[in-house]
């Protein structure tokens, strides 16, 4: 902090103890007390007191102090010295010097010392003394209180200054901003300008502002408080803005993240779709040549399935769908599994396929595997009959299957007996067995007559003695099948009558 002391002239004080009766130790002790006493004065707390020494025989003894102080401290310093003398009358030399003028007094009486006050004050130009007082008042408060005004008025009269002179001095001391409020306002405007440039203020800037405050005679505490107020407000504002910006940034980030996530998901789905397609293609290639993949290919599929993280169930469904696409669907209305039938037909194992057909049909109605009578035949579900027909038809190029049988039934004008002969299930009536053939004598190969297979063994109580299908059953079943074909429930992958007979 820079103090503008030019207005208050400095006085040089020298205080020396001259007690010849004292031992050097005593003298030193008293000099130290004097030093501490003066230093304890509030005005002199920051003033450097220089110790004075003198030669006593062989030893150098501290016996006084020297210091500089503003003229307006004169009264208080002298009063403190007077107090000391009253307390303990020691022979003391006091020298007060202002410029070339020097005032010295040596005494041990307080009254005598007090009497030099007038003389000392005369050392100082009255205007400068008044100004010093004025400055001191203004420095503490930033403005003049009524009590201070009164004190100054008394001082003016004592110094013999004219009221005009005093007013001029006041105007200079107070500066252009007379009241604390005005000073504060001005300082604040400067502060705001500085804060607009940088916030918080740098050390150097603040020192400049401190100087402004000093020059304004604005108390430092007021200036600091103003600064902190503003700084706080700015910080609050900045914090609010920062929070707002952060929230905005977070929101933006969130939406960006969401968009990214959505995109990623889409890509994943896309990638997933590709993987599934790839797997499907692989299954298709393998199943192209065989109904069920051999171990080696099964291993390949399993590896691919694990690599692409496809659920075993899903993979199985996919495989089954492709198999149905390639080898005929095996849908059932009653959960009967036709995969074995398809496999047998695919392998051209006609006898086994015929047995499996019986197995499937007997299971369909759930009559404890009893042979079907006409009533039961009417209840065979069309979907299943069409599935069976479609499989037989596909693997025999239309030679076998219900559709082929129905076609023959129509060709013989719906005469059951002729139908039985046409499909070669009944031999010549004039034979030993009256035309009835044992089941074993039927033909289970691809060159069997049209409609020869599948047999309707599921309506026979016995087979070895003779495969006997009654004419009533022929009538019933063919009628039922015709109804089923007319319904055309599922889209069949192959035309039913793909291969013409004759």
């Amino acid at each position: 902090m820079v103090r503008d002391l030019s207005s208050s002239p400095l006085l040089t004080f020298v205080v020396k103890l001259l007690e010849p009766g004292f031992s050097p130790d005593q003298l030193e002790e008293q000099a130290q007390l004097l030093h501490d006493d003066l230093q304890a004065l509030s005005d002199l707390r920051r003033t450097r007191l220089t110790c004075l020494y003198s030669q006593r025989g062989q030893t150098r003894v501290q016996d006084g102090v020297q210091f500089e102080a503003p003229a307006d401290y004169l009264r208080r310093i002298l009063r403190r010295l007077c107090d000391r003398l009253e307390d303990r009358p020691l022979e003391t030399l006091v020298v007060i010097q202002q410029g070339p003028v020097k005032l010295a007094v040596q005494t041990h009486e307080a009254d005598r010392l007090a009497s030099i006050l007038e003389a000392a004050e005369a050392l100082i130009p009255p205007a400068s003394l008044y100004r010093a007082k004025l400055d001191a008042y203004i420095r503490t408060q930033g403005e003049l209180s009524p009590a201070e005004e009164a004190n100054l008025e008394l001082l003016r009269q004592r110094l013999g200054l004219s009221p005009q002179e005093a007013e001029d001095l006041k105007a200079i001391a107070l500066g252009p901003y007379r009241t604390l409020a005005e000073k504060s306002q001005y300082f604040e405007s400067v502060l705001m300008a500085e804060l607009a440039r940088e916030s918080p203020l740098s050390e150097a800037t603040w020192e400049l502002l401190e100087e402004v405050a000093a020059n304004l005679n604005l108390p430092l505490e007021v200036a600091t408080a103003l600064y902190h107020d503003h700084l706080h407000r700015i910080q609050v504002e900045v914090e609010a803005i920062r929070q707002r910006e952060q929230a905005a940034a977070e929101a933006a980030q969130r939406t960006a993240a969401q968009a990214q996530e959505a995109e990623q998901q889409q890509q994943q789905q896309l990638g997933r779709q590709q993987q599934l397609d790839q797997y499907r293609e692989m299954v298709r290639q393998i199943l192209q040549t065989t109904l069920y993949a051999p171990d080696f290919d099964q291993g390949r599929l399993e590896q691919a399935r694990r690599l692409w993280k496809i659920e075993a169930k899903e993979a199985l469904q996919m495989e089954e769908a492709i198999r149905s696409e390639l080898y005929g669907s095996i849908q059932s209305s009653l959960d009967v599994d036709y995969s074995r039938l398809r496999q047998l037909l695919w392998g051209q194992l006609w006898l086994e396929a015929d047995q499996e057909t019986e197995n499937a049909i007997l299971k369909l109605l759930g009559h404890q595997m009893q042979p079907l009578d006409r009533e039961a035949i009417m209840h065979l579900p069309c979907i299943d009959l069409l599935t069976i027909d479609q499989l037989w038809s596909r693997y025999s190029n239309g030679r076998f299957g219900f559709a082929a049988q129905v076609k023959i039934f129509q060709q013989v004008d719906r005469r059951p007996a002729d139908f039985l002969r046409a499909v070669d299930w009944r031999g010549p009536l004039l034979s030993l067995t009256v035309g009835v053939k044992p089941y074993k004598s039927l033909q289970f190969n691809a060159s069997a007559p049209q409609g020869h297979l599948p047999t309707w063994r599921w309506c026979c109580p016995s087979l070895e003695s003779g495969y006997e299908v009654s004419e009533a059953v022929v009538d019933t079943l063919c009628g039922h099948l015709q109804k089923c074909f007319a319904m055309e429930i599922p889209p069949l992958p192959m035309p039913l009558t793909a291969l013409g007979g004759e």
Binding site: Q368, Q370, P461, E464
Partner: protein
């Protein structure tokens, strides 16, 4: 014709435990008849083809258990299937019966062979010394007077007559179908 007493599986089990094979055979026929709601007479091929699987399984379990796998429907079916594989039904004639009938010892093995006359029922071997699958037999032997005559018998059931492959095959086929259920 006297109404068939209402036999139960328990009766059959007791008789079989006591090795009363002939009585057990009669009760077996009674149980089969009851299962298809027949009061008397013979079991036709259709009757056999519609025989409830549970009845067949229950009776068979008792017979095989009591005879240590010597008698019972399942024993007969196994033999039948094995032998049927090499048999051509077209060659069936009174002089060439199904090989099963011979294997289970149902034919009169008197000279001159190979005539396919069936033994009279009382001459069957009702002991464990009989050939495997020999029993139960009455389900096959019991014929009406007219049926007996038709198969070359003397109105005395199966005895003295020829084989009736339809009936035999019907039960065997039934057993095969039941085992697939």
């Amino acid at each position: 014709m006297a109404p068939t007493p209402a036999w139960t599986l328990n009766d059959l089990a007791h008789l079989l435990e006591g090795e009363e094979w002939q009585a057990a055979d009669k009760v077996t026929l009674g149980l089969l008849r009851a299962a298809v709601k027949l009061n008397g007479g013979s079991l036709t091929a259709l009757d056999l083809a519609q025989m409830p699987c549970s009845t067949l399984f229950a009776i068979d379990a008792l017979w095989t258990q009591a005879s240590y796998g010597h008698f019972g429907f399942s024993v007969q079916q196994r033999l039948y299937e094995d032998l049927d594989r090499g048999f051509d039904p077209a060659s069936l004639s009174p002089w060439n019966p199904h090989p099963f009938c011979q294997a289970v010892g149902w034919l009169m093995l008197t000279v001159p062979r190979p005539l396919a006359f069936f033994k009279f029922y009382d001459f069957l071997d009702f002991s464990l010394d009989a050939p495997q699958g020999h029993l139960p037999a009455l389900w096959y032997w019991q014929l009406t007077w007219w049926e007996s005559l038709q198969t070359g018998g003397l109105g005395t059931g199966r005895g003295g007559g020829f084989a009736d492959l339809a009936r035999l095959d019907a039960l065997m086929l039934r057993l095969a179908r039941c085992s697939q259920e």
